[in-house]
């Protein structure tokens, strides 16, 4: 396959089709609108369904319905729209239905702005709707990785019968990069299963439901979900380690901010500094043990710098990984400001021995 130059949002739309998603329900919001616009043109060509909903609330519940009817489906939005989808996400997780949700994060809170941010980290990783459910959250750092993760997202959604969120930001959505699609044509449909509502001719009826008035029954549902999330934490953790293996300072960053940090680290290493990067690719389940191992490899007293395009959200997971063994420093900007490699490098220099 040759490389093509594509805008991130459009590449994600194409990647979804190649992952077998032919049902898209969405509502426009900057900076992700090119995803629905691209799929609007492309889905009819592969026999799929594009539907512009009247709201994000409607879009996520259309996904709820389509997933319950047993098709690979997804929606996409950006921060304020994802907030509106919270209720639906909880129901989809509770009913154990697979779907993919893309969040092209923009700056908040409130309407905020349309520039990139990573301020929805808490929202993505801590459930975001009500109840004891979780999303599997994948955080790409480039358009290519976003494309590659789309297939994984649909596979994980089906494996765990749970919503999977691809959590990127406006930078990845809006920039154009060379990208290679590793598969041709329309991807596979959802596998045969024993839960989708497809009519009950010749078999007992099936039920999609999250109402459990008996507390024991509801507790059993919660236990079943928790077992899935524990299994995902054992089997699905993904991360990248970059730079020095025994660094004097370890940067922890994800998505766009990790990519910017890499530039800073490259500059510093050319100066002879020993700096490393730990990049979680799965924001949930979070790679606690592997991050801790990277910290444990550092010299005594070496610091950890958490860098985010937020006021500091992932830092709590970094602290959980460190369990008090390391000092965790923070550098970040929010509101749509994106720290430059020079700014990150300057901050690292100030912390190095």
């Amino acid at each position: 396959m040759s490389k093509v130059l594509m805008k991130g949002n459009e590449a994600l739309g194409e990647a979804a089709i190649r992952a077998g998603c032919v049902h898209f329900f969405g509502y426009p919001i900057t900076p992700q609108t090119e995803i629905p616009e691209y799929l609007c043109k492309r889905l009819p060509e592969v026999g799929g369904v594009f539907l512009q909903a009247e709201s994000e609330v409607a879009a996520i519940h259309m996904v709820y319905g389509a997933a319950g009817a047993g098709v690979r489906c997804m929606t996409s939005s950006s921060s304020p729209g994802i907030s509106l989808m919270a209720e639906g996400m909880s129901y989809i997780a509770a009913c154990e239905l697979p779907c993919v949700v893309i969040n092209m994060m923009r700056a908040g809170p409130g309407l905020g702005g349309i520039l990139p941010a990573q301020s929805d980290y808490f929202q993505a990783t801590r459930g975001h709707g009500h109840g004891d459910y979780q999303c599997i959250v994948l955080a790409p750092a480039s358009v290519q990785e976003a494309v590659d993760l789309m297939t994984l997202a649909f596979d994980l959604a089906e494996k765990y019968r749970n919503p999977v969120m691809v959590c990127a930001d406006g930078m990845i959505g809006q920039m154009m990069e060379p990208v290679e699609f590793r598969t041709e044509g329309r991807g596979p449909p959802m596998a045969e299963n024993d839960w989708a509502l497809t009519g009950c001719e010749g078999r007992p009826r099936r039920i999609v439901n999250s109402l459990h008035l008996a507390p024991e029954q509801n507790f059993a549902c919660n236990v079943r979900l928790k077992e899935k999330y524990d299994r995902a934490a054992r089997e699905e953790v993904r991360f990248e380690v970059y730079g020095d293996e025994r660094p004097d300072l370890l940067v922890v960053a994800f998505g766009t901010m990790a990519r910017i940090s890499k530039s800073a680290i490259d500059d510093l290493r050319r100066e002879g500094r020993r700096v490393g990067l730990f990049r979680p690719i799965t924001l949930n389940p979070w790679p606690y043990a592997r991050c801790r191992a990277a910290m444990d490899a550092m010299p005594v007293g070496a610091k950890v710098l958490d860098v985010e395009m937020s006021m500091g959200q992932m830092i709590y997971d970094v602290k959980l990984a460190a369990e008090g063994t390391r000092a965790i420093e923070f550098f970040g900007k929010a509101g749509g400001l994106v720290p430059s490699p020079d700014e990150v490098a300057e901050r690292i220099r100030a912390l190095l021995p």
């Binding site: 509502y27 900057t30 060509e45 594009f50 512009q52 009247e54 994000e56 609330v57 304020p80 309407l111």
Partner: protein
Amino acid sequence: MSVRLKDLPTEELLHKGNLACAGCPEMIGFRHVLRALGPETIVINATGCLAVITQMGVPLVPHFHVLFENAPAVVSGIDDALRVQGRREGVNLLVVAGDGGTADIGLGSLSGAIERGQDFIYVCFDNEMYMNTGGQRSGTTPYLARTTTTPVGVESRGEPRTEMRRKDMVEIAVAHGIPYAASASIGYPLDLVERVEKAARVRGPTYIHVHSPCPTGWGMEPSKTVEAAQLAVKTGCVVLYEVEEGKRRVTRPVARRAPVEEYLKLQARFRHVVADPAALAEVQRGVDERHAAILARMA
């Protein structure tokens, strides 16, 4: 008694300078609405082009910025809170929203606020698509119009939903038993001012649907905004009327309707229709049918 040009309030409540596209109809309409209401007005602005282009700094009145789906809920809260504090008298609560916020995502919220009988003036600037996000279809997009989510090609030839099934926001408001509802156009500012002044005199919910041709979204010359607005009325694509306590009256009768082609040919979004006599005839039939249905309700 019609409003005359010399009767118009002279106080401008819209500061000069904004980020609107050339020929923006919303700035024309908003200016006249604010002039009609005067300085004792609080603007509750649902997210849309207006919020972005004014940045809340251009209107010289208090401004409350809210989201697409909840402006009628927010105005309900303001209405009640001012009343409890004894500060409700003499204040206009003006909700400004687009067709997306009004006809689509915010419809439920608007329905609730009208039903409760909250006291507000709701002005919807209808440019028949979502222009703040770059031109997607809305519940008021006309039949066969090209938008980014109703493209023109082999599988799709523009908006598929027919003219008779377009969401009619005035009639939806009227179905709630609203005391006053009207359609208006930025092409007829005196008529618009009269509708707004009338709404301001009503205690309770009022709704004004303002047709607003968008040069950027429709693919028109920016100088054609007002001409397009007037042609929409002259061709019968838009009927200007008011509904006062259930009584309907056409406020700007059109003796002899012009063919819709006159209106459509200004707009690139209808280029494929104008080029195809069968499609053009289909659009004309849809407009005729809708026009007749609206006039039939006037009796």
